[in-house]
């Protein structure tokens, strides 16, 4: 009986010590404080590493758009084809971290780095959608062309890709103008 009490006392002491050590340990090594600072400088690879690291933390995830903007600016300081891969990996990583969905990742990539225009609707016919808000659609296409200028031309130096986007933009305006004129009574 006495032995049993001794054992229990030892166990409690040991547990207390362990808990105390854990608590002290927690106080002396606090969780790293993430400042969510946007990447700066001209080193593209470092900037992407920085952004990926920050966006792994929930606190920074609301700043995703600002990180993307910052990365586009930094990539513009060293435009090259390889940057497309950086952006693709960045978007893939953001998707893995749950910052953006697969659809958003795809839309972001297409918006900045392909000649495709994501602003055009795909659910209903043109007479009932595109032509009901023709000025708005054209405005969105213009904004998207500007984004392609940033992504394709400035950030990745893809002159041919941008030229194709610019050409398709003009042709789309013609198609929309004619279609909507034909839709009008």
């Amino acid at each position: 009986m006495k032995n049993s009490n001794n054992f229990r006392r030892c166990l409690y002491s040991f547990t207390g010590l362990v808990l105390g050590w854990v608590l002290i340990g927690c106080q002396t090594t606090p969780a790293p404080d993430i400042s969510c600072s946007l990447p700066t400088g001209y080193n593209v690879a470092d900037a992407f590493a920085h952004a990926n690291s920050d966006l792994a933390h929930l606190k920074c995830q609301y700043e995703f758009d600002h990180y993307l903007e910052a990365l586009l600016s930094i990539a513009a300081s060293d435009p090259k084809e390889k940057n497309k891969e950086h952006f693709s990996n960045f978007l893939g990583q953001a998707r893995e971290n749950g910052v953006i969905s697969q659809v958003q990742a795809k839309e972001n990539y297409r918006r900045y780095f392909t000649a495709d225009f994501v602003s055009l609707g795909q659910l209903h016919n043109n007479c009932s959608t595109t032509c009901q808000s023709q000025p708005d659609v054209i405005k969105k296409l213009k904004i998207e062309l500007r984004d392609k200028h940033r992504g394709l031309l400035e950030a990745t130096g893809d002159r041919e890709g941008y030229a194709q986007a610019d050409s398709e933009y003009n042709q789309l305006l013609t198609l929309i103008e004619a279609t909507c004129l034909a839709c009008a009574d």
Partner: protein
């Protein structure tokens, strides 16, 4: 002959395990084939669009007729406009401007007035036919575009229609028809040729450009007709006028603009280098559907 040798359509399966096994395999294979076919068809139908049918036989016939009507109008007017310009040049070279009581100058003025009247008469006679032809073609195109691009397709589909297929019409070639000044008959001849040789992908844009061109031309013809009516009134009221008035010059310019495509350098041109691009960038992202 035993029971085993007889092929019963609904025979006793338990009596022949080999047959049952074979039947099972056949059923499994059929099922697998059906599933594969179904998936393949679903994949195809998700990317396939209805066939584009903008240029019906009627539209093509209208284009041809409008081109012929334009040529007749041009032939009628070419001579009279050249004559008017020569007379005007002679008038200025003879320093007739401001001259009063000079018989030679009066004669040139009279000739100019007659030629101008002749041009107005010719235009007044031919333009209604021309207008009718253009409006018929425009309305046929409108109907097709409304159905094919307006009701049968989405915004994303329009973009798909722009993607060139090998052998399709070069975009630079198409834009030249509408944007560069060209004779009306030449424009229609080019339209007719492009329609005859084009592929369905590029025909959407060609149809759209043609429709906008017709709409603009029809409007210009209406304005010109109004101007001709006013000009006739002025000429009828005043028998003698010394020189080409600004009003007359405007009428002549408008006629030349529509019929002979003399745009005086106005109108933008899409840089051709932008249209010749074929290859996309080298990197292929998982997010790029074009890869």
């Amino acid at each position: 002959m035993t029971n085993d040798d007889t092929c019963h359509p609904l025979g006793d399966r338990s009596s022949n395990p080999k047959q049952t096994s074979e039947l099972g395999w056949v059923l499994v294979l059929t099922w697998v084939t059906l599933v594969i076919c179904n998936n393949a068809m679903a994949a195809q139908s998700s990317t396939r669009q209805p066939t584009l049918n903008i240029f019906s036989t009627q539209v093509i016939e209208n284009i041809k007729e409008t081109g012929n009507a334009a040529r007749t109008l041009e032939n009628d007017l070419q001579g009279v406009i050249e004559q008017l310009e020569q007379q005007q040049q002679l008038y200025y070279e003879s320093k007739c401007e401001g001259a009063v009581g000079d018989q030679g100058c009066d004669q040139i003025s009279k000739q100019m007035a007659d030629t101008y009247k002749e041009m107005l008469d010719s235009m007044g006679e031919r333009l209604p036919d021309m207008e009718r032809n253009i409006m018929t073609t425009r309305d046929s195109l409108k109907k097709r575009l409304n159905k094919e691009l307006g009701h049968n397709r989405t915004g994303q589909d329009l973009q798909q229609l722009l993607r060139k297929k090998k052998g399709g019409i070069a975009v630079a070639q198409r834009t030249q028809v509408r944007r560069k000044g060209a004779r009306l008959s030449d424009r229609f001849r080019q339209y007719f040729n492009l329609v005859s040789q084009g592929s369905s992908e590029s025909l959407a844009l060609l149809g759209a450009e043609m429709y906008l061109d017709m709409d603009e031309t029809a409007e210009l013809i209406q304005l010109t007709q109004q101007q001709i009516r006013r000009a006739r009134l002025v000429v009828d009221l005043s028998d003698a006028f010394g020189t080409i008035t600004p009003e007359m010059q405007k009428t002549v310019s408008e006629v030349k603009r529509i019929i002979f495509g003399e745009y005086n350098g106005e109108g933008g041109q899409v840089p051709t280098d932008l249209d010749t691009v074929e290859k996309p960038g080298k990197f292929c992202s998982e997010f790029d559907p074009g890869c």
